[in-house]
Amino acid sequence: MTASGFRSRLTGLPDAVYVFGLMAGLYVVFTGLTVLLNFELAGVVNTLRAITYFSAVYAMVVLALNLHWGYTGLFNLGVAGFMAVGVYTMAIVSGPTNPGPAEIPGLGMSLWVGVVAGVVVAGLVGVLASLPALRLEADYLAIVTLALSEIIRLVLNSTLIQEVSVFGVTFGTGGATGLTVQNNPQTPVTAFFQSWPGSAITDMAMAIGINRPTVVEGIGYAIVLGAVVGLLFVFVRRIATSPFGRVLKAIREDQVVAAALGKDTRWFKIIIFGVGCGLMGLAGILWYGSDGYINPLSFRPNITFYVFVALIIGGAGSNTGSIIGGSIFASVLFYLPQFLEQNSTPVLDGIQSVLGGSTATPQTVIDAGGALVGLDLTAFLAYCFANISSLRFIGVGLILIYLMQRRPDGLFGHRIETAASVPLTTGDTDE
C-alpha cells in the first residue's frame, strides 16, 4: 500500500525511465542487427529513425484509443477511419491550388490550417458518429464505428469525390489512385535542414558518414514526433488525473452508478469521443501525411486491430503503458518482420553459415513443416520470411490470445493510476 502510494506520487519520474529505457534497449538491439548485416552508418541510423518514427506514431494513436477504450470503456473500432479523415482533410485543405499536371488541387491554405482542420473534422465526425450510437448499448458503438470506418475508406476509394468543383473551387480525394500530399507535416522539417542553420547540421552529419540528407531530415522529423508524443502524454495525463477523468473511469465501471451520482454520462462520452477521434486524426496526419502520398488502402481495419493489440500489450487504462505498448508493437511486431523481409537474403545467409541447411525457400506450408521436422531451420525460416506479412497476422493473433489468458492487464494495466489532480494522502502534505 505504501509502495503504491509512493509510486503514484512519483509516476512522472520512473515512467519516463521505462519509456527511455525501452527505446534505448530497442536501439541497442536494432543497432546490433544492422551491424551484423554490415549496414553502413546511414543505414544503421536510418533503421533507428524508422523504429523511432513508428514507435511515435503508434504511441500517439494508442494514447488516443486509451482515452476511449482504456478510460471510458468505449469500444471504438473506427480508428483507421478517423485517421483517414484527419489526414485527407489536412491534405485537401492545405493542398496547393495549382499543383502539377495530373495532380488534384487543394484549397491552398497553410499547413497549420490544414492540420487544425484535420483534427477538428476528425473530432466532429467522431461526435456525429457517437450521437446515435452512445444512446444504445455499448456493442452498437463498435458496430457503428467499424462500419463508419469502412464507409469512409470506400468513399475515399470511389470516384464519388475523386475530384469535385464547388463554387469554382476544385479539390478531391484522388479516389483509388490516392493523393499526393505536397504540403505535409514533414515539409517544414525538411526545409529546416536544407537552409541555414539546419543545413549546418546536415553538413555535419554528412561529414561523419550519414551520407544521405533524407536520413537527416527523417531523424529531425522523428524527433519532432517524439516531442509531440511528450505533449500528448501531458495532455492525456491531465485528463486522466482530473475529476473529468474520474467520471470517465466511472462510466467504464458502471454507467448507472455514474448517472446516479449526478454525472451526465452521455455528455462526457460525447466529449471524450470527439477529443479521442480528433487525436486519432492528428496521428493520421503525422503518420501517413509525412509519406507525401496517401491512399485509401492504408486505412483498412487491420490498422485498428494493430492499435488495439498495442494498447492491450501496454495495458488498457495506463498512459505510460500506451506509449510502451505502442513502441513494442511498432518496433518488434510491425517493423522487425518488415525489416527481416527486406533483408531476408543476408539474414538467411548468416543463419545458414551458423546452422547449415538450405536457403531454398519451401513453396508450401507442408514443405516448410517438413523442413522443420527435418531440423532444417534455415529452410523453415526462409519460408517464414517469404510469407512474413500473413505470418505476422497469425503471430499477432497468438500474442493476443496469450495476453488475454495470461496477462489481460498488459504490462501496465494493473497499476493504480489515481484519477485525481492532487495526491490523495490525508492532510496537506503536497506542495
Binding site: 503504491s4 474520474r246 467504464r252 448507472v256 446516479a260 451520482l261
Partner: protein, 265 residues
C-alpha cells in the same frame, strides 16, 4: 392515502403520487403515493418483491415510471434522467452494492460531489484553471478522509473498491452518497451485512445527519431497526401501499400483521 401519521407539517421534500411501474405484463408498483417530510428518517418495509426497490428506481430516474408523478422540493422530476435527479440533491444507494470496482475507495468518494470544476475538460487541462481544480480537490480530499474515518474504511482508502467485502461495499456506498452532501438519500437496505456495532453507530450517524437537515428514506428488513429508528413507516405489499404510520400504529395494524409481520408479533 395515509391513514394516520404525524401532524401534516411543512411542504414535503418528496411527493410521490399514484406511481405505477409495469414490466411487460407484471405490475411491480401500483398506485403508490406518499409524502416525505424534510428532516425525517422514514422507513419503507414490505415482503420480498413488494416493489420497494422498484419504487426507488422510479423516483431516482434509474427506471421511468409507467404513470404517476414524483416531485422533489416542489420540482417535478417524474421523467428526469437519474443524473438530473441527483443534481437536484436526491441521491440513492443500490440494494446490491454497485461499486466502481476498478476505482479506489478514495476515487469512489471523490467522484460523488456534484459540479466539480475539474469535470470540465477545459479546467482539467488548462494550466491556470487546473490550479483551481487542485484547490477544490484538496478540500474534497479532506472531507473524503473524514467520511472514511467515520465509516472505518481508512485502511482501505487506496484499495480497489472491487476488493472490499460485502459489508464494506455497503458502507462505501453510503459514504459515497453522503460525500455529495445531498438533501435527501434513498437507502436501499444499507445495513445488510454490516456488523452490529457499526450498524448502531451508523444509525446514530443517520440521526445526527437528520438533525442537521438531511432527509432519509430507508428500506430495511430488520424490524428492530425500523421500529426503533424510523418515523413514519410506510408498508408496501404486492406493489401497493398497505399503510403509513408510527411504529406503534404499524405494530398493531391487523393488515400489516397478516401481510408481513406474521402471527408471532
Amino acid at each position: 392515502m395515509s391513514e394516520s401519521s404525524d401532524e401534516p407539517t411543512a411542504e414535503p421534500v418528496l411527493a410521490v403520487d399514484s406511481l405505477e411501474k409495469q414490466f411487460g405484463g407484471i405490475t411491480a408498483v401500483e398506485d403508490v403515493s406518499f409524502d416525505i417530510q424534510p428532516g425525517s428518517l422514514t422507513g419503507l418495509i414490505g415482503p420480498n418483491g413488494a416493489g420497494k426497490s422498484t419504487t426507488f428506481n422510479c423516483i431516482s430516474g434509474t427506471l421511468t415510471p409507467t404513470s404517476g408523478t414524483v416531485h422533489f422540493q416542489g420540482t417535478e422530476i417524474t421523467d428526469a434522467p437519474s443524473h438530473v435527479v441527483a443534481e437536484h440533491g436526491l441521491f440513492r444507494t443500490f440494494q446490491i452494492a454497485r461499486e466502481l470496482e476498478e476505482m479506489t475507495v478514495l476515487e469512489n468518494l471523490l467522484l460523488a460531489p456534484p459540479n466539480q470544476l475539474g469535470e470540465s475538460l477545459i479546467y482539467a487541462v488548462t494550466p491556470g484553471l487546473r490550479q483551481r481544480v487542485q484547490k477544490q480537490e484538496r478540500e474534497l480530499r479532506e472531507r473524503a478522509w473524514e467520511l472514511l474515518e467515520r465509516f472505518e474504511l481508512e485502511h482501505l482508502a487506496r484499495e480497489y473498491a472491487g476488493s472490499l467485502s460485502g459489508g464494506q461495499r455497503k458502507l462505501l456506498e453510503l459514504a459515497r452518497a453522503l460525500m455529495a452532501e445531498p438533501s435527501m438519500v434513498l437507502l436501499d437496505e444499507p445495513l445488510a451485512g454490516v456488523n452490529p456495532t457499526l450498524e448502531t453507530q451508523l444509525l446514530e450517524g443517520l440521526h445526527e445527519l437528520r438533525e442537521e437537515g438531511y432527509t432519509f428514506l430507508l428500506v430495511e428488513h430488520d424490524m428492530n431497526v425500523i421500529m426503533n429508528h424510523c418515523d413514519p413507516i410506510i408498508v408496501m405489499h404486492q406493489g401497493s401501499i398497505l399503510t403509513v404510520g408510527t411504529a406503534d400504529e404499524i405494530r398493531s395494524n391487523d393488515r400489516v400483521i397478516d401481510a408481513y409481520l406474521g402471527g408471532d408479533r
